[in-house]
């Protein structure tokens, strides 16, 4: 609080401390909302950010981000912003918006606003300093909040998808009495192999299966680890009294297995799923015959 008197009311401004500076700053940003927002939007376009969004969406989002931003500056509470950021992320993640874009636009807004404050207070350097002292921590906190919310939302989506994939990808399907099919789709890591084997063993007991056809057409590549998992699955099934037929070994996979020297001689393998089913039916004593076609041709 210095009593230094200068011309035209600047003394009042100088007399304000950090707490009173922020409301003034917010008032300034509210007053110049439209030009600042447009400036920000054009900076976003120049930086080629958020190109997945239409101009209308851009206008709507930039307006609401701007308003949220100023509000957080005013209240200092990031909770509302957190909520908004999560909401925004939920909307834009499916559109393929990347983390760097979200962080980028928030930083651009920070810069645009800082620049405008600079312009307004440039004649009084000590005051500008104090204005920026008030503005910068709040602005950085906002950038932080938005980035963290976005990343958290993304991680949540990824975890959800991983769970979904894990659930989906290991169905144990009964085809006939005492015959199960287990199609393996996607990468077979140790965790999945364990889960898959446990599901299969439970399925064998529930369905009293005698024969299991494991189809690995959908497994992108089979290395030594995966092959050893398969051997374990086959052995465990045999302990439960079910014999296993492996189908869908592509020429590439067959070559890999031979080259790395995995011993699959004790495994019953057949080229494709059709052949595997035929073999399984033979083992179970089924004979599939075609009935007379009674179409009126």
């Amino acid at each position: 609080m210095n009593e230094q008197k200068t011309e035209d009311g600047q003394d009042t401004v100088v007399a304000l401390d950090g707490h009173q500076l922020l409301p003034q700053l917010v008032a300034h940003l509210r007053e110049h909302r439209d030009p600042l927002r447009d400036e920000w939007a054009s900076r976003i376009r120049e930086a080629h950010l958020l190109e997945a969004m239409t101009p209308q969406e851009m206008a709507a989002e930039t307006t609401s981000v701007y308003d949220n931003y100023v509000e957080v500056l005013e209240t200092g509470s990031v909770e509302a912003l957190q909520h908004y950021a999560r909401d925004l992320s939920e909307r834009i993640i499916p559109r393929g918006v990347e983390t760097h874009e979200v962080v980028g636009i928030v930083l651009l807004l920070r810069d645009v606003l800082a620049r405008s404050l600079f312009e307004k207070y440039q004649r009084d350097f000590p005051l500008l300093n104090r204005v920026l002292d008030a503005y910068e921590p709040a602005a950085n906190r906002i950038a932080n909040t938005v980035a963290v919310s976005f990343v958290e939302e993304r991680e949540r989506v990824i975890t959800q998808q991983q769970d979904a994939i894990r659930e989906l990808s290991t169905p144990v399907l009964p085809v006939r009495e005492r015959l199960l099919i287990l199609p393996i789709i996607g990468v077979l890591d140790s965790e999945r192999a364990r889960q898959l084997t446990e599901q299969l063993l439970r399925g064998i007991r529930t369905h009293r299966a005698k024969v299991v056809v494991i189809d690995i057409t959908g497994a992108p590549d089979v290395d030594e680890t995966v092959a050893n998992h398969l051997v374990q699955t086959v052995d465990a099934s045999r302990l439960m009294g079910a014999s296993v037929i492996i189908t869908g070994l592509s020429p590439t996979i067959a070559q890999t297995l031979v080259t790395i020297g995995v011993d699959l001689s004790k495994m019953n393998t057949i080229g494709d799923l059709q052949g595997g089913l035929e073999e399984a039916e033979r083992l179970l004593g089924y004979r599939v015959t075609r009935t007379e076609a009674d179409d009126a041709s």
């Binding site: 063993l201 064998i204 699955t233 052995d235 465990a236 009294g241």
Partner: protein, 129 residues
């Protein structure tokens, strides 16, 4: 021949012996079981042996080695061994520990074991008319 209450029941069903393990056996009990069973194979002139382990929720390396030994001894005395009722968790633990090969036929349960033995008997009959 044996002391204490039976932890394993060995029942005769035609020319098949059905041995059910009711509870986890320690090493000496396992040996006693092995001796009892192999002895009875001769006594009853059994051609098939079913060992039911459905009540076990764990099967250690000694246990599975003993089962393998029994199967081999039974074979030398002219009987086919089927191990039935291995639980999913037990099966998985066994392959993890590298005990995936039992050296004996395995079947889902007692019924399946009996069906396997009778199919073996039919095959023998057909082979030697």
């Amino acid at each position: 021949m044996s002391a204490g209450p039976a932890l394993v029941s060995i029942l005769r069903q035609g020319d098949t012996l059905v041995a059910s393990i009711h509870t986890a056996l320690d090493d000496s009990e396992m040996i006693r079981f092995q001796n009892d069973l192999v002895h009875q194979i001769g006594e009853h002139r059994a051609r098939g042996v079913i060992i039911d382990v459905a009540a076990l929720d764990v099967l250690d390396s000694f246990g599975s080695r003993t089962l393998r030994t029994i199967a081999e001894m039974a074979r030398l005395r002219g009987a086919t061994t089927v191990i039935v009722g291995i639980q999913p968790d037990v099966a998985y633990a066994m392959v993890q520990l590298g005990m995936g090969r039992m050296g004996a036929h395995t079947a889902l349960d007692l019924e399946e074991g009996l069906a396997y033995l009778s199919s073996m008997r039919n095959r023998r009959r057909r082979a030697a008319p």
